[in-house]
Symmetry: C2
Subunit: 418 residues, 2 copies
Amino acid sequence: MADWRVSPGLALDEMVAERLARGESIVHLGVDEVRLPAFDPLVEHLVAGADRTSHGPVAGSRALREAAAGYFTRRRLPTGADQIVAGPGSKPLLLALNLVVPGDVIVPKPAWDTYAPQAGLAGKKVFRVPIPPQAGGVPDPVALRDTIIAARALGRDPRIVVLTLPDNPTGTLAAPDLVREICLIAEQEDLLIVSDEIHRDLLHDPGTRMAGPAEFAPSRTVVTTGLSKNLALGGWRVGVARFPDGAWGRRIRDGVIAFAGEVWSTVAGPVQRAAEYAFAEPPEIRRRLADSARLHGSVARAVHRIMVGAGAVCRPPVGAFHLYPDFSPVGDKLAARGVTDSASLSRQLLDEHGIVVLAGHLLGDDEDALRFKASMSTLYGDTAELRQLALDSPDPAGLPHVSDLLTRIGESFEKLCG
Amino acid sequence: MADWRVSPGLALDEMVAERLARGESIVHLGVDEVRLPAFDPLVEHLVAGADRTSHGPVAGSRALREAAAGYFTRRRLPTGADQIVAGPGSKPLLLALNLVVPGDVIVPKPAWDTYAPQAGLAGKKVFRVPIPPQAGGVPDPVALRDTIIAARALGRDPRIVVLTLPDNPTGTLAAPDLVREICLIAEQEDLLIVSDEIHRDLLHDPGTRMAGPAEFAPSRTVVTTGLSKNLALGGWRVGVARFPDGAWGRRIRDGVIAFAGEVWSTVAGPVQRAAEYAFAEPPEIRRRLADSARLHGSVARAVHRIMVGAGAVCRPPVGAFHLYPDFSPVGDKLAARGVTDSASLSRQLLDEHGIVVLAGHLLGDDEDALRFKASMSTLYGDTAELRQLALDSPDPAGLPHVSDLLTRIGESFEKLCG
């Protein structure tokens, strides 16, 4: 039997649930899920779709594909409904791409912890390329070229590069010039670009300019997104992929649809109804997206100050709800406490301070690096009321229930690095 | 790129949709989906779960797993919640089993058209073993032994046998003695048994005795089911797998959970809420199941009479909503009309009579066999009102809107075989 291991993020969630059940006080910065109260208009549309007990097209209802096409078109990516395939989350769509498109996969280092196991499921080898100093979510261009050459010398065939814009785990966004440079390499080396843009609507500053690879390399970029992060609907399970126009794009799309037909059949009907509404982005949805982005940004900036204050270097967060600090500047102090690598850093944070983070090596980073991913979403409150308060606040990090947690985190890191 | 083809059933649906759009009159007997009005109490529970926007355990909520455990326990399979994993339909659970459990796969011939492509996705070879004369859904025991020997002589390693109880496509049920015999072979040859029991609640006669392989070979049988067929919820996407108790069962279960975590994460939360209610089987759900079974049986028996009347041999239907007639007794008459094999039979039915069936060779049967699958579910009415009428009727086949279609089918087959 193959060695099937539960993904580290999910294993972490279960460990935390056990500790909480034992009455321990935990600050859980290892959650990739956004936990916010259900948004009433979304619930209303789900309810309106409750009678969708028959499954329609595998790729999703025509209305859903048209709404998603509109979503992309409004983001400078003119899109027809036939370029869209929906799935129960973007995760299964990413797996389908791995199975349909041949060749090995290049992912940034670090990267979201699902890319590599999915590539492995499809029998692909994964090449990890360090991210550049400016931002995560993309491989460093020079290292990317070197990796492709080295991989081919080994007889491998890298054909897919995965980008994450904005990025999980670093909470940063690769600038348009950097994205363009990656696209140029993809053109020269004949790579398919998979652009995971599930956090696109969570850029903290509405003025931040984002240009995805589909703008520079439209014929070779598949974009994925979903409603799990921007609208905090992880439990409803819906994502979409946008395929390139043209024969090659249609061929990949048809492959993904064929795979979907053998695996998940279609997205749950009532959820499709809600997604039709959400992707159309009426004003109240746009407001909700803006509120969510403000909340994530406010808390991420506060935690960033804490990490930097404790001695870490850390790219400033501009999107999503994550940070990826590097504690090597205070490596000597940490070593004195027995913290010498990624695993011991996360273990000491848990054992001594009750703080859960996702260790960097679980995201493909070096085992001896003093890095981890911290996610913000559990800092917004323990109850729906507190979370709503945080969502509505012009200064979420200043709310008492949030700032109490920030204080606790700050004190812990001062002790750890002091 | 691998040759990804859309599954034949789905391709058929799309072809039919196009013809209907052109105004053609079609009798669609190629639909595997049950189309019945949404059942109000199920809708109410889905709505009550609309606020489940966070995803809980990958395997499904504790309440859902407990309800499903109760469902199996009431069917002579004592089951703990920890033996259950839920998925968005039983289909992805079946794929996960293929990926987690090594070795090649044996499926009945004919069988549901998803088993073989899923095995192929997992890199397995598929061995098809003819069904015995008594019933489909299981391989003929003698042929099963022969196939295992022959496969091993070829250097292959058959390790999984898939059973379908009651069966799609034949609408029959293997008797307990036959199931026991297959289980004995599985014990002797060390095969995992995957028992697809998604039609279990649709035995037409409530007195029919069913014994599944988990009763005879509890340590090596995984049972799958779902709510798509029995409660006509194909569009909501929920199924469950029941794993054997013990270390080996836990290991397979953990593998399936790990796969699920990388692919579909969890079942849509509101759907889980409805499934918690459905698997608990309160009286109104049991009545609904009984009504559905009566409807399927009434119409399947009527179509069976038509097929036999036209000269086919056909196992009498006892469960599900399918028939699998064999027109070889009237092969000469068909040959005179240019019908000489599975493909030409289904084509002539469509072109000359507007009747859509799923040709037997698409289910793994011999290409030159004059066999096809006919599904009943589109015969119940074009509107929710007519379908409800059929569901409520003590004699659904006698309703005017149903009997009109039966008359049309009867006349077509008389012409085809006359």
